[in-house]
């Protein structure tokens, strides 16, 4: 028998789609307005996506991933992303 927290977490995770839009946008020096124009949505929607207040349609998710030239799973995930700094540190340790 699973605890109530487990089911709440499962439900929450199904509802929420995590993304790396803000990090990727910053890395490519794109403003919210630039990204909005590129994917054909209004600027405020980019803010909603970054805050996780809106889960995009499959079509919009593909368009966003296309702008960053990354596979969709690199931009969106049903589970929280690990911090990029942690991942880079681990990669560097493995390489050393």
């Amino acid at each position: 028998m699973q605890s109530l927290d487990y089911y709440i977490n499962i439900t929450y995770n199904f509802m929420m789609l995590h993304n790396r839009i803000a990090v990727l946008r910053s890395e490519r020096r794109l403003s919210r307005a630039d990204l909005a124009v590129a994917v054909g949505v209004n600027v405020q929607t980019i803010g909603f996506l970054e805050r996780g207040d809106h889960s995009p349609s499959l079509e919009l998710a593909f368009r966003i991933a296309g702008v960053f030239k990354l596979p969709i799973e690199a931009v969106f995930s049903p589970e929280p992303f690990r911090l990029l700094s942690e991942q880079v540190y681990e990669m560097q340790r493995r390489e050393a």
Partner: protein
């Protein structure tokens, strides 16, 4: 669903913070409830009484934060006009609208340098009529999030108005049972209030629920402050 940044001001007050919008909504509805009470003059001609009430409430809505095409975006795209012999036409005025019409750019600054040069060479000041079918825009007036939000606000409004109408039906039935006379203007006032509610509640809900457009989650605010 909120308008673009420059339009997020009402009476020179910055309406981006949600708290301010909520206060404005509360005050607007408080005033909208006072108007019919103040104007309920059943001794005058019924036609004038209702016309005055509608005019008073519509004027107040127009001046308030809930005006059409104000802080909250229009719920439908700007419609084109039909002129005999010309077909569907739209008015285009200013460089920003020219950029939007010819290149689908949100404004003049967003167009590419080549497009800007082309626009500057063709631009004519004043309100110009162009065929509607040529208008191209990659960005729809309402995107998928805004459409979802609009539909949700309209469904919510329909439910609220339905509850009010059922409550009124109950009140009037009880009055009928107790043989209390109902003035026809009272009923007319309820209909006017429902009309105003249908018009303003979806916008009020957007103003109430939508977060500050500048909000960023936690450490992402630091990224935004970076030199972009």
């Amino acid at each position: 669903m909120l308008a673009d940044e420059p339009k997020l001001h009402w009476c020179w007050i910055d309406m981006r913070p949600r708290q301010r919008r909520r206060v404005a909504v509360v005050f607007t509805y408080a005033f909208l409830l006072i108007v019919p009470i103040a104007m309920s003059d059943y001794s005058s001609h019924p036609g004038w009484a209702i016309a005055g009430l509608i005019a008073g409430m519509e004027t107040f809505v127009w001046l308030s934060v809930m005006r059409r095409n104000g802080i909250v975006k229009r719920f439908e795209p700007k419609s084109s006009m039909r002129i005999k012999g010309m077909g569907d036409v739209v008015f285009v005025e200013g460089l920003d609208q020219w950029a939007q019409y010819f290149y689908g750019a949100p404004n003049f600054d967003a167009a590419s340098p080549a497009q800007q040069d082309e626009l500057l060479s063709r631009f004519k000041p004043g309100k110009r009529l162009f065929p509607a079918k040529r208008a191209v825009s990659d960005t729809p007036w309402l995107d998928e999030r805004e459409l979802k939000e609009r539909d949700s606000a309209e469904r919510w409004t329909a439910r609220q108005v339905m509850v009010v109408l059922y409550a009124c039906a109950g009140i009037y039935t009880s009055w009928a049972i107790n043989q209390r006379p109902v003035h026809p203007l009272e009923v007319a006032t309820v209909f006017v209030m429902c009309g105003v509610a249908l018009q303003t509640l979806p916008r009020a809900r957007v103003l109430w629920t939508e977060s500050d457009p500048r909000d960023m989650p936690g450490e992402l605010a630091l990224i935004e402050q970076a030199d972009i």
